[in-house]
Protein backbone atom coordinates (compact mmCIF):
# COMPACT_ATOMS: atom_id res chain seq x y z
CA UNK A 1 0.00 0.00 0.00
CA UNK A 2 2.80 2.44 0.85
CA UNK A 3 4.43 1.49 -2.42
CA UNK A 4 1.19 2.41 -4.18
CA UNK A 5 1.02 5.77 -2.40
CA UNK A 6 4.61 6.56 -3.34
CA UNK A 7 3.95 5.61 -6.93
CA UNK A 8 0.89 7.83 -7.08
CA UNK A 9 2.74 10.81 -5.67
CA UNK A 10 5.56 10.35 -8.16
CA UNK A 11 3.14 9.81 -11.01
CA UNK A 12 1.31 13.03 -10.14
CA UNK A 13 4.49 15.07 -10.50
CA UNK A 14 5.51 13.26 -13.67
CA UNK A 15 2.09 13.90 -15.13
CA UNK A 16 2.23 17.61 -14.42
CA UNK A 17 5.69 17.81 -15.96
CA UNK A 18 4.59 15.82 -18.97
CA UNK A 19 1.57 18.01 -19.57
CA UNK A 20 3.52 21.26 -19.19
CA UNK A 21 6.11 19.96 -21.67
CA UNK A 22 3.45 18.75 -24.07
CA UNK A 23 1.70 22.09 -23.98
CA UNK A 24 4.96 23.97 -24.39
CA UNK A 25 5.77 21.96 -27.53
CA UNK A 26 2.25 22.42 -28.79
CA UNK A 27 2.54 26.12 -28.04
CA UNK A 28 5.81 26.38 -29.93
CA UNK A 29 4.44 24.59 -32.96
CA UNK A 30 1.22 26.56 -33.08
CA UNK A 31 3.04 29.82 -32.41
CA UNK A 32 5.59 29.20 -35.12
CA UNK A 33 2.91 28.21 -37.57
CA UNK A 34 0.53 31.06 -36.83
CA UNK A 35 2.78 34.01 -36.10
CA UNK A 36 5.68 32.83 -38.18
CA UNK A 37 9.24 31.97 -37.27
CA UNK A 38 10.95 31.05 -34.05
CA UNK A 39 10.06 34.28 -32.27
CA UNK A 40 6.37 33.55 -32.64
CA UNK A 41 6.98 30.00 -31.52
CA UNK A 42 8.90 31.00 -28.43
CA UNK A 43 6.37 33.67 -27.63
CA UNK A 44 3.47 31.26 -27.64
CA UNK A 45 5.62 28.62 -25.94
CA UNK A 46 6.06 31.05 -23.06
CA UNK A 47 2.37 31.83 -22.91
CA UNK A 48 1.37 28.16 -23.03
CA UNK A 49 4.04 27.19 -20.54
CA UNK A 50 2.84 29.76 -18.01
CA UNK A 51 -0.79 28.84 -18.60
CA UNK A 52 0.03 25.14 -18.22
CA UNK A 53 1.92 25.66 -14.97
CA UNK A 54 -0.83 27.88 -13.64
CA UNK A 55 -3.49 25.37 -14.66
CA UNK A 56 -1.56 22.51 -13.04
CA UNK A 57 -1.33 24.40 -9.76
CA UNK A 58 -5.01 25.26 -9.98
CA UNK A 59 -5.80 21.63 -10.76
CA UNK A 60 -3.74 20.46 -7.80
CA UNK A 61 -5.46 22.73 -5.31
CA UNK A 62 -9.00 22.97 -6.63
CA UNK A 63 -9.31 20.19 -9.17
CA UNK A 64 -11.68 18.38 -6.81
CA UNK A 65 -14.05 21.35 -6.73
CA UNK A 66 -13.99 21.62 -10.52
CA UNK A 67 -14.69 17.93 -10.94
CA UNK A 68 -17.53 18.06 -8.41
CA UNK A 69 -19.03 21.13 -10.09
CA UNK A 70 -18.83 19.55 -13.55
CA UNK A 71 -20.48 16.43 -12.19
CA UNK A 72 -23.41 18.36 -10.77
CA UNK A 73 -22.76 17.14 -7.23
CA UNK A 74 -24.11 18.92 -4.18
CA UNK A 75 -22.84 18.52 -0.66
CA UNK A 76 -24.93 16.73 1.96
CA UNK A 77 -24.62 16.38 5.71
CA UNK A 78 -25.66 13.79 8.24
CA UNK A 79 -28.97 15.61 8.59
CA UNK A 80 -29.95 15.13 4.91
CA UNK A 81 -28.59 11.67 4.21
CA UNK A 82 -27.96 9.91 7.50
CA UNK A 83 -27.33 6.49 6.02
CA UNK A 84 -24.90 7.56 3.30
CA UNK A 85 -23.09 9.80 5.75
CA UNK A 86 -22.89 7.04 8.36
CA UNK A 87 -21.53 4.56 5.83
CA UNK A 88 -18.82 7.04 4.81
CA UNK A 89 -17.94 7.53 8.48
CA UNK A 90 -17.76 3.79 9.02
CA UNK A 91 -15.35 3.34 6.14
CA UNK A 92 -13.24 6.27 7.31
CA UNK A 93 -12.82 4.49 10.62
CA UNK A 94 -12.07 1.17 8.93
CA UNK A 95 -9.38 2.83 6.81
CA UNK A 96 -8.00 4.66 9.84
CA UNK A 97 -8.06 7.95 7.98
CA UNK A 98 -7.78 11.16 10.02
CA UNK A 99 -10.98 12.85 8.90
CA UNK A 100 -14.24 12.09 7.14
CA UNK A 101 -14.33 13.05 3.43
CA UNK A 102 -16.95 15.54 2.30
CA UNK A 103 -20.04 13.70 1.07
CA UNK A 104 -21.77 14.71 -2.16
CA UNK A 105 -24.86 13.50 -3.97
CA UNK A 106 -25.44 13.67 -7.74
CA UNK A 107 -29.16 13.85 -8.52
CA UNK A 108 -29.20 11.32 -11.35
CA UNK A 109 -30.86 7.92 -11.68
CA UNK A 110 -27.83 6.09 -13.14
CA UNK A 111 -25.96 4.27 -10.35
CA UNK A 112 -22.37 5.44 -10.01
CA UNK A 113 -19.90 6.99 -7.59
CA UNK A 114 -16.46 8.60 -7.49
CA UNK A 115 -13.92 10.07 -5.12
CA UNK A 116 -11.77 13.12 -5.68
CA UNK A 117 -9.38 15.41 -3.82
CA UNK A 118 -5.64 15.79 -3.37
CA UNK A 119 -5.01 13.79 -0.16
CA UNK A 120 -7.02 12.11 2.61
CA UNK A 121 -7.31 15.46 4.42
CA UNK A 122 -8.86 17.11 1.36
CA UNK A 123 -11.11 14.51 -0.16
CA UNK A 124 -14.70 14.06 -1.27
CA UNK A 125 -16.94 11.15 -2.16
CA UNK A 126 -19.85 11.63 -4.55
CA UNK A 127 -22.67 9.11 -5.03
CA UNK A 128 -25.59 9.33 -7.44
CA UNK A 129 -29.17 9.31 -6.17
CA UNK A 130 -29.83 6.22 -8.27
CA UNK A 131 -27.01 4.40 -6.48
CA UNK A 132 -28.45 5.19 -3.08
CA UNK A 133 -31.91 4.01 -4.09
CA UNK A 134 -30.77 0.84 -5.79
CA UNK A 135 -28.31 -0.51 -3.23
CA UNK A 136 -28.90 -1.81 0.25
CA UNK A 137 -26.69 -0.84 3.15
CA UNK A 138 -24.15 -3.63 2.66
CA UNK A 139 -23.75 -2.89 -1.05
CA UNK A 140 -23.43 0.83 -0.44
CA UNK A 141 -20.74 0.03 2.09
CA UNK A 142 -18.84 -1.95 -0.55
CA UNK A 143 -18.98 0.97 -2.98
CA UNK A 144 -17.93 3.52 -0.38
CA UNK A 145 -15.08 1.21 0.72
CA UNK A 146 -13.87 1.10 -2.89
CA UNK A 147 -13.86 4.89 -3.03
CA UNK A 148 -12.20 5.11 0.38
CA UNK A 149 -9.34 2.96 -0.94
CA UNK A 150 -8.86 5.40 -3.81
CA UNK A 151 -8.58 8.13 -1.19
CA UNK A 152 -6.22 6.19 1.05
CA UNK A 153 -3.97 5.23 -1.88
CA UNK A 154 -3.76 8.80 -3.21
CA UNK A 155 -5.36 7.59 -6.42
CA UNK A 156 -7.64 10.60 -6.13
CA UNK A 157 -4.84 13.12 -6.52
CA UNK A 158 -3.52 11.53 -9.66
CA UNK A 159 -6.92 10.80 -11.17
CA UNK A 160 -8.21 14.30 -10.52
CA UNK A 161 -5.10 15.85 -12.07
CA UNK A 162 -5.49 13.59 -15.08
CA UNK A 163 -9.06 14.75 -15.49
CA UNK A 164 -8.16 18.43 -15.26
CA UNK A 165 -5.04 18.26 -17.44
CA UNK A 166 -6.40 15.91 -20.08
CA UNK A 167 -9.38 18.21 -20.30
CA UNK A 168 -7.14 21.19 -20.92
CA UNK A 169 -5.00 19.55 -23.60
CA UNK A 170 -8.07 18.38 -25.42
CA UNK A 171 -9.50 21.88 -25.19
CA UNK A 172 -6.40 23.64 -26.52
CA UNK A 173 -5.87 21.18 -29.35
CA UNK A 174 -9.51 21.27 -30.28
CA UNK A 175 -9.54 25.06 -30.23
CA UNK A 176 -6.51 25.27 -32.50
CA UNK A 177 -7.88 22.71 -34.94
CA UNK A 178 -11.15 24.60 -35.27
CA UNK A 179 -9.42 27.95 -35.52
CA UNK A 180 -7.02 26.81 -38.23
CA UNK A 181 -9.90 25.28 -40.10
CA UNK A 182 -12.08 28.37 -40.01
CA UNK A 183 -9.65 30.99 -41.27
CA UNK A 184 -6.39 30.86 -39.38
CA UNK A 185 -4.64 30.17 -42.66
CA UNK A 186 -5.69 33.44 -44.18
CA UNK A 187 -4.49 35.56 -41.29
CA UNK A 188 -1.16 33.79 -41.13
CA UNK A 189 -0.51 34.33 -44.80
CA UNK A 190 -1.22 38.06 -44.49
CA UNK A 191 1.26 38.74 -41.70
CA UNK A 192 3.74 35.98 -42.29
CA UNK A 193 7.31 37.16 -42.64
CA UNK A 194 8.85 33.77 -43.31
CA UNK A 195 8.56 31.91 -46.53
CA UNK A 196 5.23 30.29 -47.29
CA UNK A 197 6.70 26.82 -47.64
CA UNK A 198 8.39 26.93 -44.22
CA UNK A 199 5.16 28.24 -42.74
CA UNK A 200 3.19 25.46 -44.35
CA UNK A 201 5.54 22.82 -42.96
CA UNK A 202 5.21 24.29 -39.49
CA UNK A 203 1.48 24.41 -39.91
CA UNK A 204 1.41 20.72 -40.72
CA UNK A 205 3.62 19.93 -37.73
CA UNK A 206 1.33 21.98 -35.49
CA UNK A 207 -1.75 20.23 -36.83
CA UNK A 208 -0.22 16.80 -36.33
CA UNK A 209 0.79 17.72 -32.81
CA UNK A 210 -2.63 19.14 -32.08
CA UNK A 211 -4.13 15.82 -33.11
CA UNK A 212 -1.56 13.68 -31.34
CA UNK A 213 -1.38 15.58 -28.03
CA UNK A 214 -4.85 14.69 -26.84
CA UNK A 215 -4.32 11.10 -27.92
CA UNK A 216 -1.16 10.93 -25.83
CA UNK A 217 -3.01 12.45 -22.93
CA UNK A 218 -5.85 9.97 -23.26
CA UNK A 219 -3.30 7.17 -23.45
CA UNK A 220 -2.07 8.14 -20.00
CA UNK A 221 -5.63 8.19 -18.77
CA UNK A 222 -6.45 4.72 -20.09
CA UNK A 223 -3.26 3.17 -18.84
CA UNK A 224 -3.62 4.38 -15.29
CA UNK A 225 -7.12 3.61 -14.48
CA UNK A 226 -7.87 -0.04 -15.22
CA UNK A 227 -5.31 -1.48 -12.83
CA UNK A 228 -6.37 0.94 -10.15
CA UNK A 229 -9.95 -0.26 -10.22
CA UNK A 230 -8.93 -3.86 -9.49
CA UNK A 231 -6.66 -2.60 -6.73
CA UNK A 232 -9.37 -0.47 -5.17
CA UNK A 233 -11.82 -3.39 -5.32
CA UNK A 234 -9.35 -5.56 -3.45
CA UNK A 235 -8.38 -3.03 -0.82
CA UNK A 236 -12.00 -1.98 -0.40
CA UNK A 237 -12.75 -5.57 0.56
CA UNK A 238 -9.89 -5.35 3.02
CA UNK A 239 -11.89 -2.61 4.75
CA UNK A 240 -15.33 -4.23 4.77
CA UNK A 241 -14.11 -7.87 4.90
CA UNK A 242 -17.17 -8.53 2.78
CA UNK A 243 -16.50 -9.14 -0.93
CA UNK A 244 -20.14 -9.93 -1.63
CA UNK A 245 -21.38 -6.42 -0.79
CA UNK A 246 -19.29 -4.86 -3.54
CA UNK A 247 -19.88 -7.79 -5.89
CA UNK A 248 -23.65 -7.38 -5.60
CA UNK A 249 -23.35 -3.62 -6.01
CA UNK A 250 -21.30 -4.04 -9.21
CA UNK A 251 -23.80 -6.58 -10.43
CA UNK A 252 -26.63 -4.09 -9.94
CA UNK A 253 -24.60 -1.38 -11.66
CA UNK A 254 -23.83 -3.67 -14.59
CA UNK A 255 -27.50 -4.44 -15.04
CA UNK A 256 -28.40 -0.77 -15.31
CA UNK A 257 -28.15 0.57 -18.82
CA UNK A 258 -28.54 4.30 -18.26
CA UNK A 259 -25.48 6.47 -18.97
CA UNK A 260 -24.61 9.24 -16.54
CA UNK A 261 -25.53 12.63 -17.99
CA UNK A 262 -23.00 14.68 -16.08
CA UNK A 263 -19.97 12.54 -16.88
CA UNK A 264 -17.65 13.31 -19.79
CA UNK A 265 -14.44 12.06 -21.37
CA UNK A 266 -12.24 13.93 -18.90
CA UNK A 267 -13.93 12.64 -15.75
CA UNK A 268 -15.01 9.16 -16.86
CA UNK A 269 -12.03 7.38 -15.31
CA UNK A 270 -12.88 8.71 -11.84
CA UNK A 271 -16.09 6.71 -11.53
CA UNK A 272 -16.41 3.24 -10.02
CA UNK A 273 -17.96 1.97 -13.26
CA UNK A 274 -17.72 3.46 -16.73
CA UNK A 275 -20.37 6.19 -16.72
CA UNK A 276 -20.44 6.70 -20.49
CA UNK A 277 -21.18 3.30 -21.97
CA UNK A 278 -20.96 0.31 -19.72
CA UNK A 279 -23.21 -1.81 -21.79
CA UNK A 280 -20.72 -4.10 -23.42
CA UNK A 281 -20.31 -7.06 -21.12
CA UNK A 282 -17.23 -8.36 -22.86
CA UNK A 283 -14.57 -10.36 -21.12
CA UNK A 284 -11.35 -8.74 -22.33
CA UNK A 285 -10.46 -5.10 -21.85
CA UNK A 286 -9.73 -2.99 -24.90
CA UNK A 287 -6.91 -0.49 -25.21
CA UNK A 288 -9.27 2.47 -25.03
CA UNK A 289 -11.30 1.37 -22.02
CA UNK A 290 -11.00 3.40 -18.85
CA UNK A 291 -12.44 0.55 -16.80
CA UNK A 292 -11.83 -3.19 -16.61
CA UNK A 293 -14.78 -5.32 -17.65
CA UNK A 294 -17.25 -5.26 -14.80
CA UNK A 295 -18.00 -9.01 -15.13
CA UNK A 296 -14.36 -9.74 -14.49
CA UNK A 297 -14.35 -7.56 -11.39
CA UNK A 298 -17.44 -9.34 -10.07
CA UNK A 299 -15.84 -12.72 -10.76
CA UNK A 300 -12.72 -11.67 -8.82
CA UNK A 301 -14.82 -10.58 -5.87
CA UNK A 302 -16.83 -13.80 -5.89
CA UNK A 303 -13.60 -15.72 -5.87
CA UNK A 304 -12.48 -13.80 -2.76
CA UNK A 305 -15.73 -14.79 -1.08
CA UNK A 306 -15.43 -18.41 -2.26
CA UNK A 307 -18.93 -18.02 -3.63
CA UNK A 308 -20.69 -18.77 -6.88
CA UNK A 309 -22.80 -16.40 -9.00
CA UNK A 310 -25.90 -17.37 -7.00
CA UNK A 311 -24.52 -15.29 -4.12
CA UNK A 312 -25.20 -12.17 -6.19
CA UNK A 313 -28.95 -12.42 -5.74
CA UNK A 314 -29.32 -14.34 -2.50
CA UNK A 315 -32.01 -12.84 -0.34
CA UNK A 316 -32.15 -9.54 -2.22
CA UNK A 317 -34.47 -7.99 -4.72
CA UNK A 318 -33.69 -8.77 -8.33
CA UNK A 319 -30.60 -6.92 -9.57
CA UNK A 320 -31.13 -3.52 -11.16
CA UNK A 321 -34.55 -3.17 -9.61
CA UNK A 322 -34.75 0.56 -8.97
CA UNK A 323 -36.97 0.18 -5.92
CA UNK A 324 -35.24 -0.51 -2.60
CA UNK A 325 -35.09 -4.22 -1.89
CA UNK A 326 -37.47 -5.42 0.79
CA UNK A 327 -35.89 -5.99 4.13
CA UNK A 328 -35.11 -9.62 4.69
CA UNK A 329 -31.71 -8.92 6.20
CA UNK A 330 -30.82 -9.77 9.80
CA UNK A 331 -32.32 -7.48 12.42
CA UNK A 332 -29.17 -5.44 12.85
CA UNK A 333 -29.38 -4.16 9.29
CA UNK A 334 -31.81 -1.38 8.51
CA UNK A 335 -33.65 -0.99 5.22
CA UNK A 336 -32.06 1.45 2.79
CA UNK A 337 -33.11 5.07 2.77
CA UNK A 338 -36.49 5.59 1.08
CA UNK A 339 -36.45 7.21 -2.36
CA UNK A 340 -36.41 10.98 -2.11
Amino acid sequence: MYEQIRRNRRASWLLMGFVVALLAVLGFAIGAAVFGGTSGGIGLLGVFGIVAIGWSILGYYSGDKMVLAVSGAHRVTHEHEPQLFNVVEEMTIAAGLPNVPAVYVIEEPAPNAFATGRDPQHSSIAVTRGMMQMLDREELQGVVAHEMSHIRNYDIRFATLVGILVGMIALVADFFLRWSFWGGFGRRRGGGSSGDSAGAVLMVVALVLAILAPLAAYGVQFAISRRREYLADASGVELTRNPLGLARALNDIAADSRPLGHANRATAHLYIANPLKNKKTKEASGVFDTHPPIRRRIANLLEMAHAGPEALVSGRGAPAEPSPPHDVSPPSAVPPAPPA
Binding site: P82, N86, E90, I93, A94, A95, P331, V334
Partner: protein, 186 residues
Protein backbone atom coordinates in the same frame (compact mmCIF):
# COMPACT_ATOMS: atom_id res chain seq x y z
CA UNK B 1 43.05 7.74 10.59
CA UNK B 2 41.05 5.97 7.93
CA UNK B 3 40.00 3.32 10.43
CA UNK B 4 38.68 6.05 12.75
CA UNK B 5 36.64 7.57 9.93
CA UNK B 6 35.24 4.18 8.99
CA UNK B 7 34.25 3.51 12.60
CA UNK B 8 32.60 6.94 12.84
CA UNK B 9 30.70 6.36 9.60
CA UNK B 10 29.52 2.95 10.82
CA UNK B 11 28.41 4.43 14.14
CA UNK B 12 26.50 7.22 12.40
CA UNK B 13 24.80 4.77 10.04
CA UNK B 14 23.85 2.45 12.92
CA UNK B 15 22.59 5.46 14.88
CA UNK B 16 20.39 6.55 11.97
CA UNK B 17 18.99 3.04 11.59
CA UNK B 18 18.27 2.85 15.33
CA UNK B 19 16.61 6.25 15.29
CA UNK B 20 14.48 5.16 12.35
CA UNK B 21 13.36 2.00 14.13
CA UNK B 22 12.65 3.91 17.32
CA UNK B 23 10.56 6.49 15.49
CA UNK B 24 8.65 3.81 13.66
CA UNK B 25 7.88 2.08 16.98
CA UNK B 26 6.65 5.35 18.46
CA UNK B 27 4.52 5.95 15.36
CA UNK B 28 2.98 2.50 15.64
CA UNK B 29 2.30 2.94 19.33
CA UNK B 30 0.57 6.26 18.69
CA UNK B 31 -1.51 4.62 15.99
CA UNK B 32 -2.59 1.92 18.43
CA UNK B 33 -3.52 4.53 21.06
CA UNK B 34 -5.39 6.55 18.48
CA UNK B 35 -7.26 3.50 17.24
CA UNK B 36 -8.17 2.63 20.80
CA UNK B 37 -9.55 6.10 21.47
CA UNK B 38 -11.65 5.75 18.31
CA UNK B 39 -13.22 2.58 19.75
CA UNK B 40 -13.94 4.39 23.00
CA UNK B 41 -15.59 7.29 21.17
CA UNK B 42 -17.94 4.87 19.41
CA UNK B 43 -18.67 2.82 22.53
CA UNK B 44 -19.51 6.01 24.37
CA UNK B 45 -21.79 7.04 21.56
CA UNK B 46 -23.59 3.72 21.74
CA UNK B 47 -24.03 4.07 25.49
CA UNK B 48 -25.50 7.52 24.90
CA UNK B 49 -27.90 6.37 22.19
CA UNK B 50 -29.39 3.43 24.07
CA UNK B 51 -31.45 5.38 26.63
CA UNK B 52 -33.05 7.31 23.75
CA UNK B 53 -33.97 4.09 22.00
CA UNK B 54 -35.36 2.48 25.16
CA UNK B 55 -37.36 5.65 25.79
CA UNK B 56 -38.71 5.65 22.24
CA UNK B 57 -39.84 2.04 22.21
CA UNK B 58 -40.90 1.34 25.77
CA UNK B 59 -44.47 2.61 25.42
CA UNK B 60 -45.09 0.25 22.51
CA UNK B 61 -43.44 -2.70 24.12
CA UNK B 62 -45.13 -3.22 27.45
CA UNK B 63 -44.96 -6.97 26.98
CA UNK B 64 -41.25 -6.96 26.28
CA UNK B 65 -40.01 -5.55 29.55
CA UNK B 66 -37.44 -8.30 29.83
CA UNK B 67 -35.77 -7.38 26.54
CA UNK B 68 -35.59 -3.76 27.56
CA UNK B 69 -34.26 -4.60 31.00
CA UNK B 70 -31.60 -6.79 29.39
CA UNK B 71 -30.45 -3.91 27.21
CA UNK B 72 -30.37 -1.46 30.09
CA UNK B 73 -28.51 -3.89 32.33
CA UNK B 74 -26.02 -4.78 29.59
CA UNK B 75 -25.41 -1.09 28.99
CA UNK B 76 -24.69 -0.48 32.68
CA UNK B 77 -22.37 -3.48 32.80
CA UNK B 78 -20.53 -2.29 29.69
CA UNK B 79 -20.01 1.17 31.15
CA UNK B 80 -18.65 -0.41 34.32
CA UNK B 81 -16.31 -2.66 32.40
CA UNK B 82 -14.79 0.41 30.74
CA UNK B 83 -12.02 0.61 33.32
CA UNK B 84 -11.12 -3.10 33.37
CA UNK B 85 -8.96 -3.42 30.29
CA UNK B 86 -9.69 -4.43 26.69
CA UNK B 87 -10.57 -8.08 27.42
CA UNK B 88 -13.25 -7.42 30.02
CA UNK B 89 -14.57 -4.46 28.09
CA UNK B 90 -14.81 -6.42 24.86
CA UNK B 91 -16.77 -9.11 26.65
CA UNK B 92 -19.25 -6.69 28.23
CA UNK B 93 -19.70 -4.83 24.95
CA UNK B 94 -20.41 -8.08 23.16
CA UNK B 95 -23.19 -8.86 25.61
CA UNK B 96 -24.60 -5.42 24.90
CA UNK B 97 -24.39 -6.03 21.14
CA UNK B 98 -26.32 -9.27 21.49
CA UNK B 99 -29.00 -7.70 23.67
CA UNK B 100 -29.46 -4.93 21.10
CA UNK B 101 -29.81 -7.51 18.36
CA UNK B 102 -32.61 -9.16 20.32
CA UNK B 103 -34.26 -5.80 20.83
CA UNK B 104 -34.19 -5.05 17.11
CA UNK B 105 -35.53 -8.53 16.41
CA UNK B 106 -38.45 -7.77 18.68
CA UNK B 107 -39.01 -4.37 17.07
CA UNK B 108 -39.62 -6.24 13.81
CA UNK B 109 -42.80 -7.65 15.37
CA UNK B 110 -44.35 -4.26 15.99
CA UNK B 111 -45.56 -2.59 12.79
CA UNK B 112 -46.18 0.67 14.67
CA UNK B 113 -42.58 0.76 15.77
CA UNK B 114 -41.19 -0.10 12.38
CA UNK B 115 -43.09 2.84 10.93
CA UNK B 116 -42.01 5.26 13.63
CA UNK B 117 -39.58 7.76 12.12
CA UNK B 118 -37.86 8.38 15.41
CA UNK B 119 -37.27 4.68 16.03
CA UNK B 120 -36.11 4.20 12.45
CA UNK B 121 -33.52 6.91 12.69
CA UNK B 122 -32.35 5.68 16.10
CA UNK B 123 -32.08 2.23 14.59
CA UNK B 124 -29.96 3.57 11.73
CA UNK B 125 -27.73 5.41 14.20
CA UNK B 126 -27.28 2.35 16.38
CA UNK B 127 -26.64 0.10 13.38
CA UNK B 128 -24.03 2.53 12.17
CA UNK B 129 -22.50 2.80 15.63
CA UNK B 130 -22.32 -1.00 15.82
CA UNK B 131 -20.54 -0.99 12.47
CA UNK B 132 -18.22 1.79 13.56
CA UNK B 133 -17.34 -0.14 16.69
CA UNK B 134 -16.51 -3.25 14.70
CA UNK B 135 -14.51 -1.32 12.09
CA UNK B 136 -12.69 0.61 14.79
CA UNK B 137 -11.94 -2.70 16.47
CA UNK B 138 -10.74 -4.14 13.17
CA UNK B 139 -8.40 -1.20 12.65
CA UNK B 140 -7.26 -1.37 16.29
CA UNK B 141 -6.49 -5.07 16.03
CA UNK B 142 -4.61 -4.57 12.76
CA UNK B 143 -2.59 -1.78 14.37
CA UNK B 144 -1.87 -3.93 17.43
CA UNK B 145 -0.75 -6.78 15.18
CA UNK B 146 1.75 -4.60 13.33
CA UNK B 147 2.94 -3.02 16.55
CA UNK B 148 3.37 -6.34 18.37
CA UNK B 149 5.18 -7.79 15.37
CA UNK B 150 7.61 -4.91 15.41
CA UNK B 151 8.21 -5.37 19.12
CA UNK B 152 8.85 -9.09 18.85
CA UNK B 153 10.72 -9.33 15.55
CA UNK B 154 14.40 -8.79 15.01
CA UNK B 155 15.94 -6.24 14.74
CA UNK B 156 13.39 -3.78 16.10
CA UNK B 157 12.87 -5.97 19.20
CA UNK B 158 16.29 -4.78 20.39
CA UNK B 159 15.16 -1.17 20.40
CA UNK B 160 11.78 -2.15 21.85
CA UNK B 161 13.51 -3.91 24.75
CA UNK B 162 15.84 -0.96 25.39
CA UNK B 163 13.04 1.60 25.51
CA UNK B 164 10.37 -0.47 27.19
CA UNK B 165 7.86 -0.85 24.37
CA UNK B 166 5.40 -3.50 25.49
CA UNK B 167 2.96 -5.52 23.41
CA UNK B 168 -0.74 -4.64 23.49
CA UNK B 169 -3.85 -6.75 23.90
CA UNK B 170 -6.23 -7.40 21.05
CA UNK B 171 -9.82 -6.24 21.43
CA UNK B 172 -11.63 -9.53 21.05
CA UNK B 173 -13.22 -12.38 22.92
CA UNK B 174 -12.81 -16.08 22.17
CA UNK B 175 -15.96 -17.52 20.65
CA UNK B 176 -16.76 -19.72 23.66
CA UNK B 177 -16.67 -16.87 26.17
CA UNK B 178 -19.36 -14.91 24.47
CA UNK B 179 -22.40 -14.85 26.72
CA UNK B 180 -25.51 -14.71 24.60
CA UNK B 181 -28.48 -13.50 26.63
CA UNK B 182 -31.59 -15.60 26.37
CA UNK B 183 -34.40 -13.47 25.09
CA UNK B 184 -37.93 -14.38 24.24
CA UNK B 185 -38.29 -13.79 20.49
CA UNK B 186 -41.76 -15.35 20.33
Amino acid sequence: MIAVIIIIVILVVVGIIFAGMYNSLVGRRNQVDNAWSQIEVQLKRRHDLIPNLVEAVKDYMSYEQETLTNVTAARAAAINAGSQGPQAQAQAENVLTESLKSLFAVVENYPDLKANQNVLSLQEELTSTENKISFARQFYNDSVLTYNNKIQMFPSNVIAGMFNFTTRQFFEVPEGDRAVPTVDLR
